[in-house]
Symmetry: C2
Subunit: 332 residues, 2 copies
Amino acid sequence: MGVDYRVTSCPDGLITDRRRKVQVLDCTIRDGGICNNWYFDHKLVNKTFEALAESGVDYMEVGYRTKPGAFDRDKVGPWRFCDEDELEKVVRPGKIKLSTMVDIGRVTTAEIPKKSDSVIDVVRVATYAHLMDEAETIVKHSLDCGYEVFLNVMAISTVSIELLDETLERVARLKPHRLALVDSFGALFPYHVRYLVRKYKNVVGDDVSVGVHFHNNQQQAFANSIVAIDEGADFVDGTIHGIGRGAGNCPIELLLFYLDNPKYNVRPILDLVDDFATLRDELRWGYHLPYAITGYHNVHPRGGIQLMETPDRYKCRSFYENLAEEFSRKST
Amino acid sequence: MGVDYRVTSCPDGLITDRRRKVQVLDCTIRDGGICNNWYFDHKLVNKTFEALAESGVDYMEVGYRTKPGAFDRDKVGPWRFCDEDELEKVVRPGKIKLSTMVDIGRVTTAEIPKKSDSVIDVVRVATYAHLMDEAETIVKHSLDCGYEVFLNVMAISTVSIELLDETLERVARLKPHRLALVDSFGALFPYHVRYLVRKYKNVVGDDVSVGVHFHNNQQQAFANSIVAIDEGADFVDGTIHGIGRGAGNCPIELLLFYLDNPKYNVRPILDLVDDFATLRDELRWGYHLPYAITGYHNVHPRGGIQLMETPDRYKCRSFYENLAEEFSRKST
């Protein structure tokens, strides 16, 4: 072997330095649950928990908390609700920090108990930029309840720069512990991410740490994570084998290889690849043209997800042409 | 929609400019043939030719030329040999420039006829850095025969910087028309690619145009192509649906979306996705852990390919551990 490209040849010495400092959040069960309506069996969730805890990954997001009536309990699995008694069957407190997400519009303060009454450490609030009023209420309540509070402002690729600046300024005043740059549509390229991570960090200030959550529609989730780390992102989201809505997320195993940080151990996660590869054959996340086409056009993946559920999933020329036409109409 | 992330928000105006200038080479049948021993039927090769010609892609690489005895003709398909009579069944001259690759060690000058006796426009010579003497003979012969001559120096991630410099200086003197930076093992990240494209262009001079050929083991093939274009690469290789050895190559459809160049039309290629997605289910290129693990360790994918051929393909912890151990032995 000539050059060790794992650790040398890096023209910017900072990359190595920064990749040793970033933290990792796994959202396999939460974002992956969007693929199977959160019907992961308890055994697999427990196995995932044990593997992540052993790997040294910093956070595990086990699902959503949801207000009554937002979903039919007969049509989704337990990780859409994350009731305390269900959580206690699969996790043990203290081995890894545990997060549940709450969706603005599908949660009230009633679903967020005092931290002392929960195994959960983190409430992660998912909002759109135009729903920040309601998000503020939930963030403040969660802070009052004693949680670490993270905020995800979703679908950032559709937000105007003016609204983004205004939102970031609100976040700077609100002071959740962490804020994630979220590319829900898988529309961003590394040069966008460099610009946005810089902007996020500059505007929210030192009290709010900045992380990233990427989707893989155009095979950029891991590459975008790399430049985000290079720009000083404080945490990165990943999932086992890249499971997640549509094309999925950044594969956490690639991330742990890359970070090359002795505090992480990728081996227990490799033990889970077999389980998740079998699931992938069934649930079809990953690189598929319908998702690439929605990502490229910067729209929600739902049209791609619908097409993927049909036997004509790869007959995608007309799917492309319809989106392209809509796109040029909007642009003119 | 807020921001059009397809064309705006680019902090470096050059990116847009450069992506309108780069040329595209498709090597679906050549590199994809490594997955199925070049057993593509004539109908699919012809359909691929027609689609690529209509798309405006600059070059189509239809296979290899190979000396007698290097492969058993009963065990590989026709595109490992690219006899003129086979080519004439599937392509028509003039619609798109046609390339065949020749592998140093598996070719002699006898397999390269005068250009006037062939439908082929380009001879692409694939060599390792340590076989440059033999490569020079074949490059010179091909130039004398009247072809456009491209040179691929493979597995560059294993070549010492000293040998790389020496090789690039030889290429500068040899003056093939084009030289490709080839990441055979899928080991490179975008910051390596920036450094290497700059070096290649600086050393080979203006007479040799520089392009890139990436493998997707760590989901970096498209991201690496993007930075290569940003650094001024003159051409980029891609394949339909990313087909290629191991994890495969940069998907040409993602590349054409990204280039956003009116001279290209992605639609005819989208018509082929159905055929190639069916092949992918069978041949299993794309993101699979065994390939990610060889890429990360900067070794040839053959161990991953062997593992992928077994039912235990995703039981990859011990595969990882063996390579990791070998890697640390070599590094110390």
